[in-house]
Symmetry: C2
Subunit: 320 residues, 2 copies
């Protein structure tokens, strides 16, 4: 049985091995991903983003249980760039797996982003491709923080949920500053804490202001209060995602096409960025020019980074 057959049949061990290879940037993975690609496009992808400590994992785990009640299979991908150093992702997986221990319908994996040269967005997209090909109906992707990578990962999701907690203060300001516009649904988790209503009100006025400014008659972002550790608000969050899904799939204003366009564009650009870098570094190494020697030239200020890079491109790109 080929690896393609194994994965499309939902084999957990084969899938786990391929995901690890993607994380480790093993050179054979693009060949496999290429063959998996025709088997994708069925899964509904939901992104969750928010600072560490807001309770994303608990929320996602609870939501996975809700999808299981509908008989849907769930893939969970936790993008955790805090873990390249200590292997925290693997330990985290083990703890989380226990919650869904006897349920083969849930597959959880953390992306530790051991990849030495970034490539977080591409690795995440590749892993979504694998879980989609594996046949998962719903894929829940957790990302930490509000960096550029998160904005790009949001481009890969059908629905994006921004999670915050009461009392973070400037957090709302950060949302105001811009990331708001990627959120389809807002969650105020730990809603038992003081200030929850105030946070909801602030979010509401920021969202309304943004919609007015853009004269947007499309999707009105929903705000849900949850207390994930007590399963409170999970049903409401589930319904909110369903509502956004229906809005998107109706495609009245071409929202679905726009989302699929952005996603395809991100996939090409990120794959090109990473593969071009890796290929160029391999090529110069094979000519006996090591990255190490260039780094030492730079440290000695015998060269500048821009000239070094232009030299590499002049050497390796076709002249015509």
């Amino acid at each position: 049985m080929s690896i393609i057959d194994q994965i499309t049949a939902g084999d957990v061990r084969a899938t786990a091995r391929l995901l690890r290879d993607i994380d480790d940037q093993v050179p054979t993975t693009p060949r496999i991903l290429k063959q998996l690609y025709p088997h994708t496009g069925r899964a509904y992808i939901v992104g969750f983003t928010g600072s560490p400590g807001v309770g994303k994992s608990t929320l996602v785990d609870q939501l996975a249980l809700r999808y299981r009640q509908d008989g849907l299979t769930v893939g969970i991908l936790a993008v955790d760039p805090t873990s390249p150093f200590s292997g925290g992702a693997i330990l985290g997986d083990r703890i989380r797996m226990q919650r869904h221990f006897l349920d083969p319908g849930v597959f959880i994996r953390s992306l530790a982003t051991r990849g030495h040269f970034g490539g977080l967005t591409r690795s995440t997209n590749d892993m979504i491709t694998v879980l989609d090909a594996m046949g998962k109906d719903v894929i829940l992707v957790e990302t930490v923080g509000v960096g550029q990578d998160e904005v790009e990962i949001a481009n890969s999701a059908h629905s994006t949920v921004l999670v915050t907690v009461p009392g973070l203060g400037d957090e709302v300001q950060a949302i105001k500053a811009g990331i708001m516009e990627i959120g389809n649904i807002f969650v105020v988790n730990k809603a038992d804490r003081q200030g929850s209503r105030k946070t909801v009100r602030e979010l509401r006025s920021i969202i309304d202001l943004g919609l007015r400014r853009r004269q947007d008659n499309g999707w009105q972002p929903l705000i849900i209060e949850t207390e994930a550790t007590k399963s409170r608000g999970i049903e409401e969050l589930y319904q909110a995602i369903q509502k956004h899904r229906q809005y998107l799939l109706s495609n009245d204003h071409g929202q679905l096409d726009e989302m699929l366009y952005k996603r395809a564009r991100t996939q090409i650009v990120e794959a090109l960025r990473d593969l071009a870098l890796r290929t160029l570094l391999q090529r110069i190494e094979s000519r006996g020019i090591s990255l190490d020697s260039m780094v030492r030239q730079l440290m000695a200020r015998e060269a500048d980074p821009y000239s070094l890079v232009q030299e590499i491109l002049a050497m390796e790109l076709r002249q015509d």
Copy 2:
């Protein structure tokens, strides 16, 4: 007067213009950066990272005032990827500039990362190069969150300060999971809040555990409690940074070399990643193959991203 002369003479308007061009990825910037590079290497670079809402900006502004008391000039770079949508960075700059309104010794700029294809790490490195060439003695770089970009930006700083607040709970867990190892100094800001001592104790035990595990006899990370809005703890933070600076510059265990090596390596890799991508996209466009047409092929599932990228590389890389 050439732009190089203007910037190395500390001209604020010329510098601001170049920084905007870097943010907008104007194609002439590498040529200018190349000429600025020999004028760099003097500045001491301090990175500040932490979730939105922990008070990084106030902390950095206060610290800038402290450096000014020593007669040192200060550049502040706020990397704010939350702002590509609404132009929040520019408004933020105006508000912050008022605090240092009459002081030409402080230069503040936010990086909105409008760059459509990522490149946050490279843009940040380029902006550090400019402020260094401008003659700033100290460069304070603020980054949001704990993403891959932040880890890479930390590679560019001599000293890295991780900022948190009491009561974020899992925040400490995230630090535990790995990002801790990039922090030379830890700040618990808003230390008047309940739970501050507890947060300090937790950080201390995590740091000690990490040091023991790695049998590290080098730098012992310092933990400082601050209340930035009341200037409390700023002197202690300043002293902690000075202490780390002395440790680094003594170079007893080759720490400085290691830091400069990582930084040079990041500069080359990120410049190559970005320039290769941009050059390849331009080249295929000039052959009449648009990114748009490839995106539409992908959407129609007539192609997969991996094959498309391999075709581009086969077309544009030298055959030999």
